[in-house]
């Protein structure tokens, strides 16, 4: 029955679309525009009495669910428009009917909440516009003979990261498929380390350094620009390991479009980010960046507003030189550089293929600091180089950039939303001048439809409510950077993200979530007080419907906060390197000369694990070597057995020569399709399932026994020794 209804709806919708297309083509076009404008104004502004508004809201939500069964673009646009109309109707009602306050305290609280809601509405509209049509840019192959291909300089900037990490990147970069004489790899060492210089010499890549450290990464790159001359400049962060196909798949576009200044590719992480790592069931969650790279940048690409993300991208030197290099005025120099280049009329592009992979931030603290820097930088751009004014950008570009910049202002509104229900429960402050049922009638369709539209357009790249949890996690820490920067854009230094630090212990990062815990405590207090007031409603002379509304809201906030506190539960990082669940065929050589062919269960840069064939006797033998194929040529690595449990044998790689290491990197991380299907499956998860998961996490947290030390020392240690990012 459900399937039949879906077919019916599909038919209805496509017929409607067909008819309407003809209507638009006909002479009715201009009158229709006026009519639609009038109708839209009417739908937004006409207030309905309570019962009618409920009817309207419920019907419309039902209609949305129906239309949602149709997977076409047309249906997406219809749902987006409905969501925009409903949310604008809500905001209009808020403005005209609910902003009347008796007390000055009410006025203050109420206006603050309203500002936050206005922000959310603006972001909703901009956001929907941005991801309405994510473009899937196809790959253009390289054209022309080898001698005609453009020359490329590959920059790998580093500051204080460890050799282990940087090494792999250099190896992979040097192993990219491209005529060897047409590209050069440069290691830009801002830390001026002897170790790196020696390594570069041995590996065969170029080494650049400078005497000062002005402007951090941007300055580093600019200094390198002056010393190099390739037509194209390719940038990889020192932990982003490119696949071999990187240049092959990206340069084609730069050849075809001379006005193209940038081709950006996704930042993919092969290690779990703090949420995936620390939260039970987190490995099923898509990474934090997935929504941005999977959907948002593609939407940006439609409007020629893709911006540079600092790594995994290739730029045209001519454009950079026009801009006097990378702009170092803000701490997110990447986005700012792209903005300035685009102002000069250059285009940008985005290819949604994972052509490189890097390390996610290890700990919550590092994650927070990274986002704080991004927030600060984006706010600086907002103040210093606002995309709304100034020449050189199309309207669509302005809107897309504004959305990106405004997005980082979420901190204050998010905190406001978190604590707003307390205004009524604890302080009896009526911050919305309206009956509770009326608020429900208007707000529920608005929230429901914006959630639904977003979910539909993000199609699995972010599970429901995790966006809120993410934002909540960061909100408290981002308030100061954003607010201070809004008033004083020059303040704030470039603090660097740590990568690759090892934490020796399980610990609970109390310091990072202290504000969350305080707010949770307040919310809990609010819930208790609210419930008491609800039970004794008569004694307290409180309207119970308003109280129920606020309690439900506070409960929701409580759940979200607790879920974000769960992320602070840092688990030990035992291994140096990340294990990949790849199945790579290899041969294992025993010390007594036997050889078996097998396939790895998982493999990392430090070792591998495999299952012995059935009934195979290991006895006391050791495996001394394994060989794998890369490019149809084998190479060998010395190994030794480190552990064995049942049939599962774990091998550790011994020190290998540089060429062997290169080949290992190439085999593991250099395959062109190494990352396309890595990570949790991107399938949409229902709202209910997502909420169930979150509740499980919370119950897990509440049963937390204080075995884990709250390790302040570890937290402080991470602050020192910044790594250039």
């Amino acid at each position: 029955m459900l399937r039949k209804s879906r077919i019916k709806i599909n038919k209805l919708l496509s017929e409607a679309k067909y008819i309407l297309e003809h209507v638009w083509d006909s002479f009715l076009q201009w009158p229709l525009v006026f009519l639609i404008a009038a109708a839209a104004i009417m739908v937004i502004s006409v207030p309905l009495p309570l019962y009618y508004q409920w009817v309207y809201g419920v019907f419309f939500m039902g209609l949305t669910l129906l239309i949602d069964r149709n997977p076409s673009h047309y249906a997406s646009i219809v749902i987006c428009l409905s969501s925009i109309l409903t949310s604008t109707r809500y905001i209009f009602w808020r403005i005209t009917q609910t902003l009347r306050f008796d007390h000055i305290m009410d006025a203050i609280f109420g206006s603050i909440l309203f500002m936050a809601e206005l922000y959310a509405w603006a972001i909703l509209i901009l956001g929907l516009f941005q991801i309405l049509w994510p473009m899937q840019r196809p790959v253009i192959p390289l054209s022309g003979k080898d001698e005609d291909l453009p020359t490329i300089d590959v920059f790998i900037p580093t500051f204080n990261e460890s050799m282990e990490i940087v090494r792999n990147t250099v190896f992979a970069a040097m192993g990219m498929d491209y005529p060897k004489d047409r590209f050069k790899v440069y290691l830009l060492d801002d830390g001026n380390r002897e170790e790196f210089r020696i390594f570069a010499e041995q590996a065969g890549c170029n080494y650049l350094t400078r005497t000062d450290n002005l402007n951090a990464k941007a300055g580093n790159l600019n200094a390198a620009l002056k010393k190099t001359s390739g037509e194209l400049v390719c940038i990889f962060d020192c932990d982003h390991v490119p696949t071999r196909a990187f240049l092959q798949l990206t340069v084609g576009w730069l050849q075809k479009e001379p006005n193209l200044a940038l081709v950006q590719t996704p930042h993919f992480f092969y290690s779990p980010d703090p949420i995936q790592k620390n939260v039970p069931g987190g490995s099923e969650l898509p990474g934090d960046n997935e929504l941005f790279y999977g959907t948002v940048q593609r939407g940006n690409d439609l409007w020629d507003a893709t911006f540079f993300c600092g790594s995994c991208a290739i730029l045209r030197r001519a454009a950079l030189e026009e801009n006097d290099g990378f702009s170092g005025e803000t701490v997110t120099e990447d986005a700012h550089t792209a903005l300035r280049i685009q102002r000069r009329g250059w285009d940008t592009a985005y290819i949604n293929i994972r052509l490189s992979a890097g390390l996610a931030t290890d700990t919550l603290l590092a994650h927070i600091k990274q986002r704080a820097r991004w927030a600060r930088g984006m706010t600086q751009i907002l103040r210093v180089d606002n995309p709304l004014w100034g020449k050189g950008l199309t309207i669509a570009q302005r809107l897309c950039y504004m959305n990106a910049l405004l997005h980082y202002q979420f901190a204050l509104p998010r905190v406001i939303f978190l604590i707003s229900p307390l205004a009524f429960i604890l302080f009896n402050s009526s911050i919305i001048h309206s009956s509770a049922v009326m608020v429900f009638a208007y707000a529920i369709p608005h929230l429901f439809m914006s959630l639904w539209a977003h979910e539909r357009l993000s199609s699995g790249r972010r599970q429901p409510f995790w966006g809120e949890i993410n934002e909540t996690l960061l909100a408290f820490h981002l308030i100061k950077p954003t607010l201070i920067t809004i008033f004083n854009p020059k303040k704030g230094k470039f603090n660097v993200t740590d990568k690759g630090e090892r934490s020796e212990d399980d610990y609970f990062d109390l310091r990072s979530v202290r504000p969350h815990l305080i707010t949770t405590a307040f919310l809990f207090l609010g819930l208790v007080v609210g419930t008491i007031k609800l039970i004794y409603a008569d004694y307290f002379h409180i309207q119970s419907s308003v109280l129920v509304l606020n309690i439900l809201w506070a409960s929701f906030n409580f759940i979200i906060l607790l879920a974000s506190v769960a992320v602070a539960n840092e688990s030990r990082q035992v291994r140096n390197t990340v294990r990949f669940p790849f199945q790579i065929p290899f041969s294992a050589y025993f010390d007594d000369g036997h050889v078996i062919d097998s396939v790895t269960d998982n493999i990392s840069l430090g070792g591998l694990a495999f299952s012995l064939p059935k009934n195979y006797e290991l006895a006391d033998r050791d495996i001394t070597e394994i060989s794998m194929k890369v490019d149809n040529r084998s190479f060998a690595l010395p190994v030794k057995i480190v552990s064995r449990s049942g049939a599962l044998v774990r091998l550790q790689f011994e020190t290998a020569s540089m060429s062997e290491q290169k080949k290992l990197v190439a085999a593991l991380m250099g395959q062109a399709d190494a990352w396309q299907h890595y990570g949790p499956e991107e399938k949409p998860v229902s709202t209910i399932a997502s909420m169930k998961h979150i509740l499980k996490i919370i119950f897990g947290l509440l049963r937390y026994r204080p075995q884990k030390r709250i390790n302040k020392k570890a937290a402080i240690k991470n602050e020192k020794g910044a790594v250039q990012k």
Partner: protein, 774 residues
């Protein structure tokens, strides 16, 4: 809602505990005139002129002077004040007060008593003995000198105690009842005719303290012409617009001058002998002694012709010139005219109106004692106010209340009601922290402010806005309850009501608006756009009804009807562009006047119009589905065709679709004046609506016979918005259509944009992306 009912019931039953004053209560009194010849003066009784007497006795029951229910005094110190009025030209010769009381048997005989005061003079202090608790008749002679012309007041103060120690001042055994039906004030009044002087107008013809029904004959020489009728209408409206008007009967007299006060209309062409009207020099107003009754006076309005007569009447009615002496010529006086919706009594809609403009004295908004009773503001409003999309008028209330530890601030509140319907509550709160911060700790009172919206459905043509302070005592321990003294709570006269966002729109026909506000005629306060249509030789009943209606209209608007036109006989040309008020009998159905009316004359009797076949679609589009019952049934239809038919009906003017017609018709026209008076009867409250109202033995019954239409001016987009707000399903469809429609060009634009961006790649690759969602 529960609280509102409690508040209103409380306000009716519980009364002041110490020194309260009610605002004026106007009530109709029925004074039995024992010396008069006939009780009701109807048109038929015009021939027998009543014989005046110099003294008359009257019995005023408390009920008749406005005490609606039994007086219930409670607490240690309960008091009630009863205002009543006496005519200025009468003095009291003898008076006695008779009270029928009962009280709590638990009262201590030696400590409890009832103090009776008249005009603040203590007449008697009656001890309340236990043996008389079941019922006590108190008869007290009152010194007539205490009574004053004009406003008087009786106060009944109850002092009660039930124990000698540790007494709860609001204990339930402290009560006393005084019957309102069986307590009387017996008065013997002597008329003291005052000097005839125009300065005293409208006395002696109209005195607002008149306790009986006003009967004022309008005297003409012969059957009045159109001009005379118009002039008479002006004068009737002059009385109607006077303060304290409570209805009157103005019977037209054409054969001589009756005894008693009266108003005479005469032109040079129709002089009445004995009144000195032979040499009229211009529009003149004079006051003379009645030649047939020495103790009464006649007001003579004269002119050399109809125009001058009307001018004189208009000057009199609008009080446009100072009149003094016994005769004044009033030519060359400008009569003010009114634009639509400018009636003086109607609350303004062009700016916020302060409460100070609506009350008689600031005392009206001040309550003394812990139970001050409702503070009332009365105002009239235009009957066709349309507030959508707002919920109604907005109020900005500034209020003061006392501050003390005896006040239970959590349970106390200020309730606002309009026309006995609950509107909102304002909180009795603490001092704000700002006050405390700024050191305003010492204040005795707290000033607070609240903005509220009044729902428009509570609004009526005549409004009673009441503010009820429900002050609760904080719980104290035993024996510690002390009532605070000198507790004053008030509403700032600076508070305002704002109707600026109202439009004028009414769904017609609606006889309720006619009966309650004179709509649509009173839209222009001086009836500048209205024509009264009567038969060629109108009957006395029709004329009296006409005059009664004019007075009624002006009591609604506060303005005299100085631009009304009267037409005897139907002249279609002069009836275009006018609202018609038709008064008379079946002969008015010539010229197809009643063609589309709910009821028409078929030659022998009245018949009901057929039920219109208005399509549902029409009703849907115009929101004209009637919400009033209904088409009359058989029994009622029978009444219509009987000779007892008396009906009021409304429909579109047959001469002009953009104007309205209201007809007051009866087969026996002598019944018309009573019909007009029946509008105000309690049993007919809210019974007049729709487009056909019939006066039957059981009261007035209303029906909707014809089709409905809207009258008024509202911007078209507002109308569309209003219509849509009543049809949510249409709104859903429209929203869906907008989304579906707009999605098409947006989709096309996006596709074009994508093509543009990917123009360098092959089309095969691009088209893959079109319909799939990735």
């Amino acid at each position: 809602m529960k609280n509102a009912k409690k508040a209103t019931v409380a306000s009716l039953m519980l009364l002041t505990l110490s020194g309260a004053s009610y605002s004026q209560i106007a009530g109709a009194a029925s004074v039995k005139r024992t010396a008069r010849a006939s009780a009701d003066v109807t048109a038929a009784a015009v021939d027998t002129l009543p014989v005046p007497a110099t003294a008359h006795q009257g019995r005023l029951s408390f009920e008749s002077i406005g005490v609606g229910q039994t007086i219930h005094l409670v607490g240690v110190n309960g008091e009630m004040g009863i205002p009543f009025g006496l005519r200025n030209d009468e003095t009291v010769a003898k008076a006695s007060l008779r009270l029928s009381v009962s009280y709590s048997p638990a009262l201590l005989s030696d400590l409890s008593h009832l103090i009776i005061l008249v005009n603040n003079e203590i007449i008697r202090s009656v001890p309340l003995l236990r043996e008389n608790a079941n019922g006590l008749e108190i008869v007290i002679p009152v010194d007539p000198a205490i009574f004053l012309p004009g406003e008087n007041r009786i106060n009944l103060r109850f002092i009660g105690h039930y124990t000698r120690d540790c007494e709860d001042p609001v204990h339930s055994s402290l009560w006393m009842n005084i019957s309102n039906k069986r307590s009387f004030l017996d008065l013997e009044m002597v008329k003291t005719p005052l000097q005839a002087d125009l300065e005293r107008l409208p006395a002696p013809f109209f005195d607002r303290f008149e306790t009986g029904r006003l009967n004022l004959p309008f005297i003409f020489r012969a059957n009045p012409s159109e001009d005379m009728l118009e002039a008479a209408g002006y004068v009737a409206s002059w009385i109607g617009s006077s303060r304290g008007f409570r209805g009157a009967s103005f019977q037209p007299v054409t054969d001589g001058i009756p005894a008693g006060n009266g108003i005479v209309f005469t032109t040079g062409r129709n002089p009445i002998a004995g009144l000195g009207d032979d040499h009229i020099t211009g529009p003149t107003i004079a006051i003379v002694k009645n030649p047939n009754d020495a103790s009464s006076q006649l007001l003579v309005v004269m002119g050399r012709n109809g125009e001058e007569l009307k001018q004189a009447a208009a000057v009199l009615a609008t009080r446009s010139a100072t009149l003094e002496g016994q005769r004044v010529v009033v030519d060359d006086v400008k009569i003010p005219t009114y634009k639509p919706y400018e009636a003086p009594k109607w609350i303004r809609t062009d700016r916020p109106v302060k409460l100070s403009e609506l009350i008689q004295s600031p005392q009206d908004l001040i309550g003394n004692s812990i139970m001050p009773g409702p503070l009332e503001v009365n105002f009239k409003s235009a009957p066709d106010l349309f507030f959508w999309p707002y919920s109604g008028p907005r109020m900005d209330v500034k209020y003061r209340y006392p501050y003390g530890s005896w006040l239970d601030r959590k349970r106390s509140r200020l309730d606002i009601s309009l026309n006995q319907q609950y509107v909102s509550t304002l909180p009795i709160g603490e001092k704000t922290w700002i006050d405390r911060l700024l050191g305003r700790d010492g204040a005795v009172g707290i000033r607070n402010r609240g903005k509220r919206s009044i729902p428009s459905y509570t609004l009526a043509p005549s409004n009673y806005l009441s503010f009820f302070y429900d002050l609760q005592l904080a719980d104290k321990g035993r024996c510690q309850a002390v009532l605070p003294n000198n507790v004053r709570s008030s509403i700032d006269p600076d508070s305002s009501i704002n109707l600026m966002h109202a439009h004028h729109l009414a769904r017609l026909p609606d006889l309720g608006l006619f009966a309650g506000a004179g709509y649509p005629f009173t839209r222009i306060a001086d009836l500048g756009n209205s024509t009264i249509l009567m038969e060629e030789h109108p009957t006395a009943g029709a004329i009296q009804a006409y005059l009664g209606l004019m007075a009624r209209f002006s009591s609604f608007t506060g303005a005299a009807v100085t631009r009304v036109t009267v037409q005897e006989g139907i002249n279609p040309d002069r009836l275009k562009g006018r609202d018609l008020l038709i008064i008379g009998g079946p002969s008015l159905s010539e010229n197809n006047l009643l063609e589309n009316a709910p009821v028409r004359w078929n030659g022998q009797h009245m018949t009901l119009k057929e039920r219109p076949l208005v399509s549902r679609l029409y009703n849907f589009l115009h929101m004209t589905s009637p919400d009033v019952p209904t088409y009359p049934d058989q029994d009622v239809a029978a009444t219509i065709s009987s000779p007892e038919f008396e009906g009021l009906m409304a429909w579109r003017s047959p001469f002009d679709r953009s104007h309205d017609a209201v007809a007051l018709l009866a087969v026996d026209q002598n019944k018309l004046p009573n019909f007009v008076q029946a509008f105000d009867k309690k049993q007919n409250d809210g019974q007049i609506k729709g487009d056909l109202a019939l006066n039957t033995i059981n009261g007035i019954r209303s029906f909707q016979v014809g089709s409905l239409y809207w009258r008024g001016s509202v911007p078209f987009w507002l109308w569309i918005g209003y219509w849509i707000s009543n049809h949510p399903l249409v709104m859903i469809v429209v929203t869906l259509c907008v989304a579906l429609l707009l999605a098409v060009p947006i989709g096309t634009l996006l596709r074009i944009q994508q093509k543009r961006r990917l123009k360098h790649s092959s089309t095969a690759e691009v088209s893959e992306n079109d319909e799939s969602e990735e």
